[in-house]
C-alpha cells in the first residue's frame, strides 16, 4: 500500500460521508441505505457489477441524482440534495464516467470552465500547474476536446477538476475506455497522487484488482446495497469476494499467480 492515510503532509481535505442514503430516478431507489465514509488523505473505492448503483451513488453525492432518504455529510455539515454547482463551490470535484468534457470547447476552454469559480487572474497560473501534472495536454490546448483520444480526454476531465484544487475527488470509472497499460498508470500515478495532497478520493472502478492496489478501503456494492467493506487485504482474503468480483479465478485454478 503506497502512502498511509495519515502520512500526507497537511490535511487540507475534508470527510465525505453518507448515512443510510437511498437515491435513484423517478422516485425509484437504485442505491439503498448506504452508509460510507471517505476521510482526508484516503483513497476509497467502490466496486460491484454493472447496475449495482455505483454511478448513481456518486451522482447523488454531488446533487446530479436525487437523494430519496438518508443524508450526505460534507465536512461535518449535512448537504443532502445540494446542487452540483454548490458541491463544486464547496470543494468537491466530480469527474463523470461519460460526458466528462465539453466536446465543442477547446482544451484550454475546458480548463477555464473547470476554473470558473476561481478569480479571473488565478486561472492561467492554475492551468500551468495542471499542465505540469498532465504535460500531454500542453501540446493540444487549442484542439477541440471532442477530438481527443480516450486517454487525453480523461486527463483533460481530471485536469478540469484538478484546477480548482478540490478537497475531495469523486471519480467515476476513470479508466473506462483506456488501454490497460494507460489505465494502470492513470491509477498509480495520478489517482494516488490526489490523496497525497490530503484530499479525500472516492473512486468507482470496474477494474477491481487494479483499483484495490491503490485503495485504502473498498466498499462492494450489489443491487444498490453494501455487500462487503474492508481493506484490500481483507477483501482479497475473502473467497466470496474473489469469486464474484475478480472473475472467479480461484474456482478454476489461477494460471497467473
Amino acid at each position: 500500500m503506497s502512502g498511509e492515510p495519515g502520512a500526507a503532509p497537511a490535511l487540507r481535505g475534508a470527510a465525505l460521508e453518507t448515512e443510510l442514503l437511498s437515491a435513484g430516478y423517478a422516485g425509484r431507489p437504485v442505491v439503498q441505505e448506504l452508509s460510507i465514509r471517505v476521510s482526508p488523505g484516503e483513497v476509497v473505492s467502490v466496486v460491484g457489477p454493472n447496475g449495482s448503483g455505483k454511478s448513481t451513488l456518486l451522482k447523488s453525492l454531488v446533487g446530479v441524482v436525487q437523494v430519496l432518504s438518508g443524508k450526505v455529510i460534507w465536512d461535518g455539515a449535512e448537504v443532502t440534495n445540494w446542487t452540483p454547482d454548490a458541491a463544486a463551490r464547496a470543494g468537491v470535484g466530480y469527474v463523470p464516467q461519460v460526458d466528462d468534457v465539453f466536446a465543442p470547447l477547446t482544451v484550454r476552454e475546458n480548463l477555464e470552465m473547470g476554473g470558473y469559480l476561481l478569480p479571473r487572474r488565478a486561472v492561467p497560473e492554475r492551468i500551468t500547474h495542471v499542465l505540469e501534472v498532465f504535460p500531454q495536454l500542453g501540446r493540444m490546448l487549442t484542439r477541440k476536446a471532442g477530438r481527443l483520444s480516450g486517454g487525453e480526454r480523461k486527463m483533460l476531465a481530471m485536469g478540469r477538476v484538478l484546477i480548482l484544487e478540490p478537497r475531495a475527488f469523486i471519480l467515476d470509472e476513470p479508466t473506462a475506455n483506456l488501454a490497460p497499460a494507460l489505465a494502470l498508470s492513470l491509477l498509480d500515478e495520478h489517482v494516488r497522487q490526489l490523496s497525497a495532497t490530503g484530499a479525500s478520493v472516492l473512486i468507482v472502478e470496474q477494474r477491481a484488482r487494479a483499483v484495490l492496489a491503490i485503495s485504502d478501503r473498498t466498499y462492494v456494492l450489489t443491487g444498490g446495497r453494501c455487500q462487503m467493506e474492508g481493506t484490500p487485504a481483507e477483501l482479497t482474503a475473502s473467497p466470496d469476494f474473489v469469486d464474484t468480483f475478480l472473475g472467479g479465478r480461484r474456482r478454476t485454478g489461477d494460471p497467473q499467480e
Binding site: 425509484r28 470509472e173 477494474r207 484488482r209 475478480l246 479465478r249 478454476t252 489461477d254
Partner: protein, 604 residues
C-alpha cells in the same frame, strides 16, 4: 322549433362532421402513430380544391371570371371520391420528410414549412388556383335533384356527413385495434425499437399519411360542396394548430377523443362566436378566439396532457382469459418449471451448414470514435456465445452494427450466407436477426402483453389489408400468440402484469419485458445487450437456463454481459473485446489462461 333553428342545426351537423372527419385523420397520424404533421391542413385544402374543380363546369363556361384547371362538371359522388383520392396522393411527397430517418421535431418543422409553402403557392398561382380570390359557385351535390336551399336537402347533407364520420370512426377503430394498429402505436412509442423488431417504418408512416390525407381530403370535399366556396385564406397553417388543439384536448390515442375535440374546439369556437355580441373593433372577437385556442393548448398540455378522454388501457389478456372461460385453463398450458417452448421460426436453421453470422474486418464509427475497429468473428449455430470486454470496448456498437441500428464504415456482415452489411434494420429483423437494447426500450403506452404481441412476426392482422378484414381474419392467430405470450409471462413471473402499461413497471420488470419481447419475435439469431442488468441473480440464472434450452432447440444467441459468473455458467464460446478489437475467443477457462485477456479485462 323555428325554421331558422332547424337550418342552423343542420348546418352544425355538416360543420361538425367535416371537423370530426379531419380530426379523425389527424388522430390516426398524431395520436396513434406519432407523426406530428404540422402540414395537415394542406390535405384538406387539396381535397376541397379537387372536389370543386371536378364539380365545376369548364372555366370558360362562367364567363371566365375565375380560372382553374379541370372543370369537368362531374356528378356526385365523383367529386367527393376525387377529394379523398387527391388528399391521399398529396400525402405521398410528405413521406419523403417523415420517412425512415427524419422524426420528431425536425420532421414536424419540415411539414410545417411545406404547408406554409403550399399556402403561398395557392395564394399566388392564379392559372391553377385563381390566386387569393379562390373559387366560388361550386355546384352542390345533386343540386338538380333536390333544391339545395330546402330544409330536406340541408338535413340530408348533415346526416350524410354524420354518417360518413361514423363510418370513418369505425374504420379507423378497426385498424387501430388490430395488430397493424399495434405496430403503429409501437412506432409512436419508440420507432428505433419498432424498426429493430421488423416494422417497416416508411411503409407504416406512408399509410397513415395517406389514410389521414384521404380523411382530410374528403372532409374538404364535403365542406366545399356545402358552402360552394373554396377560399385559400381558410387553409392557413394556423388551422392545423386548431386541429392539433382539438386532438390534444379531446385525447390522443383514441378516436372518440378526436370526435369530442372536433365538437369542442373548431365547431364549439366557431359557434360560440355567433352568440357573442359584436363588441370592440371588427376582428376583435376572432383574434381573441385564436388567443383562447393558444391558451387551451398550453393549459391542456400542462394540466391534462392525456386529454379529456385518455388513451384506453386495452385489456387484451383479461378478455382472452374470459373468452377461454377463466384463468386456470390458460395458465394450465404454461408449465412454469420447464423452459419455454418457443422454437426458432424457420425451425431448421440448425441443420444448415456453416456459421449463422460472419463479420469480415468490420469497422464502425460511433460519436467520432472508431468504436469497432476491424472485427472478424463467426457465430456458430445453436450456441450461446458470450461477449465481454471493458466499458467502451465497442460491444454495444458491434451489436448495433450487426442488427443494422448502426452503419458499418467498412467491412462485411454475412448473415445466413447473405451479405446484409447495408440491409435495412427491419429487413434483418424479419430474416430472424433480432436485438435488444441496453436502455429501457419498452413501448410505454402498450400493455405488457401488447409489447409481446407487437414482436410476433408475420401476423395476418399486421398488414393494412389484414387489419381491414377484421378480427375474424386475424383473431384466431392472435389467440395462439396470446397463449405463447402467457407462457412466457408465467415463466418470467409477470403474468399478473399482462394488462399493465409497460411504462408503469419497475426497471427490472421492464428488462424482462424486453427479453420476452425478443423471444416472441422467434429469432434465429438473438443479440442481447446486457439483458441481466438490474435483474435479481436467481431470476438471471433461471433466464440463463431458458436461453441455453433455446439454443439447444436451434436458436443462436450472442449475449453481452459483465457478470463473469454468468459467462462461466452459460456461455461458450466467449469473445473478448477491448478498444474496438477482438482480443481473444474461447471458453472462460481458456481465456483465463491468456495473460493479455486477464490484463485487459479479468484483472483490469
Amino acid at each position: 322549433m323555428s325554421q331558422s333553428t332547424l337550418f342552423y342545426l343542420a348546418n352544425l351537423l355538416v360543420y361538425g362532421g367535416v371537423d370530426a372527419i379531419a380530426c379523425l385523420g389527424l388522430s390516426m397520424q398524431f395520436g396513434i402513430s406519432g407523426v406530428s404533421n404540422f402540414g395537415y391542413i394542406i390535405f384538406q385544402a387539396a381535397g376541397a380544391y379537387t372536389a370543386a374543380i371536378l364539380a365545376l363546369p369548364p372555366d370558360t363556361a362562367n364567363g371566365g371570371f375565375q380560372t382553374y384547371i379541370g372543370g369537368l362538371g362531374l356528378p356526385f359522388p365523383i367529386p367527393w371520391i376525387g377529394a379523398a383520392v387527391v388528399g391521399g396522393l398529396v400525402a405521398l411527397p410528405f413521406t419523403l420528410l417523415v420517412g425512415r430517418r427524419l422524426t420528431g421535431q425536425v420532421a414536424a418543422i419540415g411539414l410545417l414549412v411545406t404547408a406554409v409553402m403550399a399556402n403561398l403557392l395557392i395564394n399566388n398561382f392564379v392559372p391553377l388556383f385563381n390566386g387569393a380570390a379562390g373559387l366560388s359557385v361550386v355546384p352542390q351535390p345533386l343540386h338538380n335533384v333536390v333544391n339545395p336551399q330546402s330544409q330536406t336537402y340541408q338535413w340530408a347533407y348533415g346526416l350524410v356527413a354524420a354518417g360518413i364520420t361514423i363510418a370513418i370512426y369505425f374504420l379507423f377503430r378497426r385498424l387501430t385495434e388490430s395488430p397493424y394498429g399495434r405496430s403503429l402505436r409501437a412506432m409512436r412509442d419508440n420507432s428505433p425499437v419498432a424498426d429493430a423488431l421488423g416494422k417497416d417504418l416508411l411503409s407504416l408512416r406512408t399509410s397513415v399519411l395517406v389514410l389521414g390525407g384521404m380523411a382530410a381530403g374528403l372532409s374538404g370535399g364535403i365542406l366545399v360542396g356545402f358552402i360552394t366556396l373554396w377560399s385559400p385564406g381558410a387553409w392557413g397553417y394556423a388551422e392545423t394548430i386548431v386541429l392539433f388543439a382539438a386532438v390534444i384536448i379531446g385525447g390522443t390515442g383514441n378516436h372518440k377523443g378526436a370526435i369530442l375535440g372536433a365538437v369542442l374546439v373548431p365547431l364549439g369556437f366557431e359557434e360560440a362566436t355567433r352568440f357573442i355580441p359584436a363588441i370592440g373593433a371588427p376582428g376583435l372577437i376572432p383574434a381573441l378566439q385564436w388567443v383562447a385556442i393558444g391558451l387551451l393548448i398550453v393549459t391542456f398540455l400542462w394540466f391534462r396532457p392525456q386529454g379529456i378522454i385518455p388513451e384506453p388501457r386495452r385489456r387484451i389478456f383479461a378478455k382472452a382469459l374470459a373468452a377461454r372461460g377463466g384463468g386456470p385453463v390458460l395458465r394450465a398450458t404454461a408449465p412454469s418449471t420447464s423452459s419455454p417452448r418457443i422454437s426458432p421460426s424457420a425451425a431448421e436453421p440448425a441443420n444448415q451448414p456453416g456459421p449463422i453470422l460472419t463479420t469480415e474486418a468490420l469497422e464502425v464509427n460511433f460519436g467520432g470514435v472508431q468504436a469497432v475497429d476491424g472485427v472478424s468473428i463467426q457465430l456458430e449455430r445453436s450456441r450461446l456465445t458470450g461477449l465481454i470486454g471493458p466499458n467502451g470496448a465497442g460491444k454495444s456498437t458491434l451489436l448495433s452494427a450487426l442488427a443494422g441500428t448502426a452503419t458499418a464504415a467498412s467491412g462485411k456482415i454475412l448473415y445466413q450466407g447473405q451479405d446484409v452489411t447495408t440491409e435495412h434494420t427491419f429487413l434483418r429483423a424479419r430474416a430472424g436477426l433480432v436485438r435488444t437494447f441496453q436502455l429501457a426500450s419498452e413501448f410505454k403506452r402498450l400493455t405488457v402483453v401488447e409489447n409481446l404481441l407487437a414482436a410476433v412476426p408475420d401476423q395476418r392482422g399486421d398488414t393494412f389489408r389484414g387489419a381491414l378484414r377484421g378480427r375474424r381474419f386475424w383473431g384466431k392467430e392472435e389467440g395462439t400468440a396470446i397463449e405463447r405470450a402467457a407462457e412466457l409471462m408465467e415463466q418470467f413471473g409477470l403474468i399478473d402484469y399482462a394488462d399493465t402499461f409497460a411504462g408503469n413497471l419497475s426497471g427490472g420488470q421492464r428488462r424482462l419485458v424486453e427479453i420476452m419481447r425478443a423471444l416472441m419475435a422467434q429469432p434465429q439469431l438473438l443479440l442481447l445487450d446486457e439483458p441481466m442488468a438490474g435483474i435479481h441473480p436467481t431470476l438471471a440464472r433461471k433466464i440463463g437456463k431458458s436461453l441455453q434450452a433455446l439454443c439447444a432447440e436451434g436458436m443462436t444467441i450472442l449475449l453481452v454481459e459483465h457478470e463473469l459468473a454468468f459467462m462461466d455458467e452459460f456461455c461458450e464460446p466467449v469473445i473478448v473485446m477491448a478498444e474496438g478489437r477482438v482480443l481473444a475467443e474461447g471458453t472462460m477457462a481458456e481465456l483465463r489462461g491468456q495473460p493479455e485477456v486477464v490484463e485487459a479485462y479479468l484483472v483490469g
